[in-house]
Symmetry: D2
Subunit: 266 residues, 4 copies
């Protein structure tokens, strides 16, 4: 069942400014881009560069004045989705090199501060069951509430304040997993069912993959409960939200508006 995506956002620049955009569905094996169109306001410079871990692309722009992005895509998601509770954790010493950086702390995910809590609360669970218990605990104890967090809000802040948006839920989920030495990363994505419709973010954890002898694979975990992993279209990944904004302005921009529509076509 393909997913239809329609995005538009606009902003103003009052001088020539460098921008980084990352809003397109990533062309990766688990996602087949059936069709996609991107309209960008003309600019002095436009160049695509591979994004983190070669998942998706970033677009460098140098532009001035009003700027607008329109994007439509139809994507078939072929992701192998497992029930995380049924998966084992890989022992740290079995983690492949490329997963290691995702057990380390990052800008918004201070896992080092949460070891005692994570051991006390989730120590009795193993592997994927632990991840599921973390996800459920966040869902039970946090309120999804727009306007209660901002770009400075970290997982530690959210853990104390017990509220936030998808970005904040993902940061706490990632921090908990890393505190249990399970690699976890941040995924910006499109997903049907997100309410109100907007760019979405979820966590991904690296657990043993029964199909890969001794190896692991990434599994989506959404503590907000809004996204279905089987229908989530990934844009890009990173250590946390610092790495995958749909718009990073290296200068000053005035944001005008954005719309996001994600629907299942049947």
């Amino acid at each position: 069942m393909p997913i239809d995506i329609k995005t538009s956002f606009a902003f103003d620049l009052d001088r020539p400014t460098d921008l980084l955009l990352q809003f397109q569905a990533a062309a990766i094996p688990e996602q087949h881009i059936i069709d996609s169109d991107t309209w960008l306001t003309k600019a002095q410079h436009i160049a695509n560069v591979p994004a983190q871990d070669a998942i998706g692309e970033r677009i460098w722009i140098r532009a001035d004045g009003p700027y607008k992005v329109d994007y439509t895509a139809t994507v078939e998601v072929n992701r192998k989705v497992a029930d995380v509770s049924g998966l084992n954790r890989l022992d740290p010493h079995d983690l492949p090199g490329e997963a290691v950086e995702y057990v380390f702390d990052s800008r918004y995910c201070q896992a080092d501060r949460m070891h005692t809590f994570v051991d006390d609360r989730f120590g009795k669970y193993q592997g994927g069951e632990k991840v599921a218990a973390m996800r459920d605990w966040i869902a039970d104890n946090f309120t999804y509430e727009a306007g209660t967090s901002d770009a400075k809000t970290t997982a530690l802040d959210t853990f104390v304040e017990r509220r936030g948006i998808c970005r904040d839920f993902a940061h706490v989920m990632i921090s908990f997993a890393r505190a249990a030495i399970i690699p976890a990363r941040y995924v910006s994505c499109y997903a049907p069912g997100v309410s109100p419709p907007d760019f979405h973010a979820v966590a991904e954890v690296f657990l043993e993959d029964p199909d890969l002898k001794g190896g692991g694979s990434w599994q989506i975990v959404d503590a907000t409960g809004m996204a279905d992993p089987a229908k989530t279209v990934k844009i890009g990944i990173g250590r946390d939200a610092a790495d995958v904004s749909f718009l990073t302005t290296f200068g000053i921009s005035s944001f005008r508006n954005s719309t996001v529509e994600v629907t299942e076509t049947g």
Copy 2:
């Protein structure tokens, strides 16, 4: 002129524990490992994995009881060292994909909080001159003082408290560079002249390389003034200190001691 390295460190584990070690000179084009020997206490599991950006290796260990690491190496450094003041900055939109993550914030480097200061203080300088001005400002305004910082200390803390060790100086340098949208990363290294002798850390910034038409390369910047870039032996790199510790214990270890000797043979 080869650099001789002799390192030893020991710690105790009171149960089977996973460890990550990263202490060996990285085998990279700019460093020729003439000779090296590593002695590790026997362990249940030992496996090498590539480290961040394939610079150097990490060693996964699963061990129990007393553990000891001994390492000697002789390394010829063939690094092309430039005077950073003479180099240009690449415009953000000309940065290659792999350098982009190093303009983003990380655990210990909150560049987003330092834009106003960096613009006010260093706005008049361009490119490598700006980097040199940042380095000199840190050298002038910070006191190198062991025991004033710990594993929680961030660039923001150090900026306020005006003192710390190599790790803290590097974090501030990296944050300043990123606030000026110059990619910057953290380098753990061995360097003669470090006093007292110890593992060392410096920053690296990505600036235009006159030999690479429109491309850039990484240049070492040490705000402590202790390391000579031409004689610095890199172990590994990362976003900041969260990524490249010589010893990361996934559990509890009692550190016993470490010694580091780095000398120029000639």
Copy 3:
């Protein structure tokens, strides 16, 4: 030359809620309240209690629905204003008991983190000259910019970010003074010349008073440069902004608007 004050603010409560108001010119020796009128929406409970250090009053309200406060006053300020640069500091051991709490850290003023900076930058100055140097340094290095700080912003944040509003300037000034062991407190006030017109805040420092053999008195210091100490009408004082808000709601209120007019009558 009397100061005319006209204030109005309104907010909505959607259930019976307790409020603390503190907006009236304090009746203290240095201020003669020539005339004043306060209109409060009727409420279930209204009671005045003395405010911190008996300077001014707080009003407890229990109310519901739309609420409005109107206040006018004409105040003659008879404050003895000294040029702080000409005053001596009292040695810590000569501080009276009631001034001691104002050398300690408070919610928004982490003076303990700023000792090294304050010693390095202002160590060469003594007493009131040191205070003046701090005030001038803040004025030179910080940008007054509404919307860049919020209720969570501390002196440490502002010191890093180099911008903010009167509240933030006062917090940094207070922290610097305390780091030099000069008692400093936060003063909410009305002052002509504040632009845009609004409730204002300044710091006060406790320095030797030449008229009081071995004793000290409080002197207003405004790092924003907007308030003239001789024309500043104090509302109340506290350790920092946590203690003297004009409106503290113990529950949820929707703020509608406020206006403040302060003029010199001639």
Copy 4:
């Protein structure tokens, strides 16, 4: 049953330095000082000043070289101790002026960040029952562990890290109470049963006093469970630990050692 106190602490100063000491049992109605002796190394200047809210005294010292304090006291505690669970809370608008500052945030107690958690977790309890539930929750969820916190550690840190010492337990208890708009303050004290024997700290909350028509009184709450309120000898009180250290050095001191013995004589 009198309490015997025996304290000694020593430190070195390498130049003439101002100090503030606060280690003596407070002479307040609820504590009868049967007998007490204080020996202080001779100093250039020694002066007593009243401590916060006139509870106990602080001693200003100006001294140089080795310094030693010895103190013995026998104190009869006549405190009226109530079971806090049986007490009502005063409505905010019924709080007397002098209790108001203790609902505000302070250096180590960021109650403003904990409203959501406190409402979610303790919202179902009223008055003193709420205080008891907070105390029990802290006792159940936090580990008493020396060396896990330091002078920078705040209630927010401790809430995340779930461990600390008496100071940290008191800071979290105070923050929770204030988030529920119950005045709470920090009490430094001597108490038998503290293990290992040391200076101790507890919280005090302001609740309705059945003997005072509509008024309130302070009740000791110790989330560590070590101190019996009926046998706790108060030294002083403050907003938090920033206000009541037994030794505050305005300069540099090398701490040598301290001993504290508190016993019930029978």
